[in-house]
Amino acid sequence: MASCRVPLVLLACGSFNPITNQHMRLFELARDHMHSTGRFEVVGGIVSPVSDGYGKQGLVPAKHRISMAKLALQSSNWVTVDEWESQQPDWTETVVTMRYKTHLLYGLKTATFGKSRLRSVNRFLESPTTLKRKYSGKISKYSSLKAQNTKLTRPFPQLKLLCGADFLSSFKIPGLWLDDHVEELVQRFGLVCVSRGSLQPERAVHESDTLFRHRRNVFLVREWVRNETSATEIRRALRRDQSVKYLIPDSVIEYIHQHELYTEDSERRNEGTALRPLIKQAHQPIKSLDD
């Protein structure tokens, strides 16, 4: 038999401020690892830069971060850049981005749920619980499609979140994630987490009941080569006029110089502002049926 492997798409959310060789390594390492489990076939990778609304210090305009990511990934035949998240007016929860991408993968579009395109898009952004509650009549079409999917010899690709170990540890930060979202992220989607440096993702899984409960859907990839190259370090080097060659692609270096990105001024952007998630989610009750 050709393959009982589940086709898989890896989605990485983040600032990509700027994209680095290390980011692209994540995809390569994750793909190798998921293939070696014998259960998956990685068919695609998506880089989804966060929108300017995120409010992180030093974040340069999304259009630049998108352009740089596109330049960097020109030579890749399986990883692409997705602009949807960066184009949203407000910061988008990771889980919402994943729901949107999943629906695109399933090919469910306007036809399934309604005439108005805008309404349909909003429906895609709702959680499975909400969908069930609101569209219990029409939901049969959705679940029958899902049922059909599992019967196909080539099912639709699954979407998993690709991230570094620091991302996993961020679940602990108060106000940054909603419990429901973390639950949906690991239960419905799954995580592929690449460890680097001294962080121990196993510990993060151990210390979170939610992660622990769904540990079979949290894939930990060990990066044996210690590589602490980070976008933060890159920006620091650029501010100090030090070389970043061989840490990020040449085309990205050129772009940065052309547009004079990453200076002491750019690093002060959003200084003193709280991250958008902390503000947005502060007003919402912890357990919510309405996402």
């Binding site: 210690r226 602490e228 070389s243 060659k245 061989y246």
Partner: protein, 278 residues
């Protein structure tokens, strides 16, 4: 942007480059930034000199491949070049001889010396070396206008000075005394301690430039070869063109890693022969 008061420097890196990685290339960039940051130097050129096959290191693949990969890797660099002289010699060449060779070439190019001058200069230097071996204090005079040639290496090379029979003491002294060393620290090394513990190195500590790589970057060629043996991706660890070359020529397998497995490394062979022959 050359400041007339700065000394011109050429960086020379010797090694297996088996294969060349982004880390090797980073070393050059870090060294250049460091030296120019002192305000005393202007780095005008970088030279990668892959070792010859006669070095007999385990897993060392043919020099022709290693040189070609280094060439592909430096295509996009404005100042780093590859030199195949060392790799083309039939016997293994001591690092000090490689440095001497390149230094002579540099001088010849700079001053357009005729043959007579070169011979006079070589004789003078040979006398100086003898004086050094016999313990007489000798300063290594540097030509006033020529560029300085410095050996660029990682902390592991610096610490290898301590391995018995790997280096000749007079060679170490010449490298740090006459030329100079730029040592880029990799994770786990402590070059300052090592320099402190060696009288030879301590004497010439002003010629040893230690560059701290604040961001740990452990991409070693050993790791890359291991990943390739296991069919894993090495993209973004090496330049794209080198990754393609490795794939096209199916380099680095379990077999290639066994090459020279039961052979003694050339320096050990050479120096132990010398000691047994008295």
């Amino acid at each position: 942007m050359e400041n007339p008061t700065t000394s011109k420097v050429v960086l020379l890196a010797c090694g297996s480059f088996n294969p060349i990685t982004n880390m090797h290339l980073r070393m050059f960039e870090l060294a250049r930034d460091h030296l120019e940051d002192t305000g005393q130097y202007s780095v005008i050129k970088g030279i990668i000199s892959p070792v010859g096959d006669a070095y007999k290191k385990k897993g060392l693949i043919e020099a022709s491949h290693r040189v070609e990969m280094a060439r592909l890797a430096t295509e996009s660099s404005e100042w780093i070049t590859v030199d195949s002289w060392e790799s083309q010699q039939s016997d293994w060449v001591e690092t000090s001889k490689v440095i001497r060779h390149h230094y002579e070439e540099l001088l010849a190019r700079e001053h357009n010396r005729d043959d007579v001058d070169t011979i006079k200069y070589t004789k003078k230097r040979r006398i100086e070396r003898v004086q050094f071996i016999t313990g007489k204090e000798v300063s290594f005079p540097k030509p006033k206008h020529g560029p300085q040639l410095m050996l660029l290496c990682g902390a592991d090379v610096l610490e290898s000075f301590g391995i018995p029979n790997l280096w000749k003491q007079e060679d170490i002294a010449e490298i740090v005394g006459r030329y100079g060393l730029v040592c880029v620290t990799r994770s786990g090394g402590d070059p300052h301690k090592f320099i402190n513990q060696s009288d030879d190195l301590w004497k010439y500590r002003k010629n040893i430039h230690v560059v701290h790589e604040w961001v740990t970057n452990d991409i070693s060629a050993t790791h890359v070869r291991r990943a390739l043996r296991r069919g894993r991706s090495v993209r973004y660890l090496l330049p794209e063109s080198v990754v393609r070359y490795v794939q096209e020529h199916s380099l680095y397998s379990a077999e290639s890693e066994q090459k020279n497995a039961d052979v003694v490394l050339a320096p050990f062979q050479k120096y132990s022969d010398a000691s047994t022959s008295g």
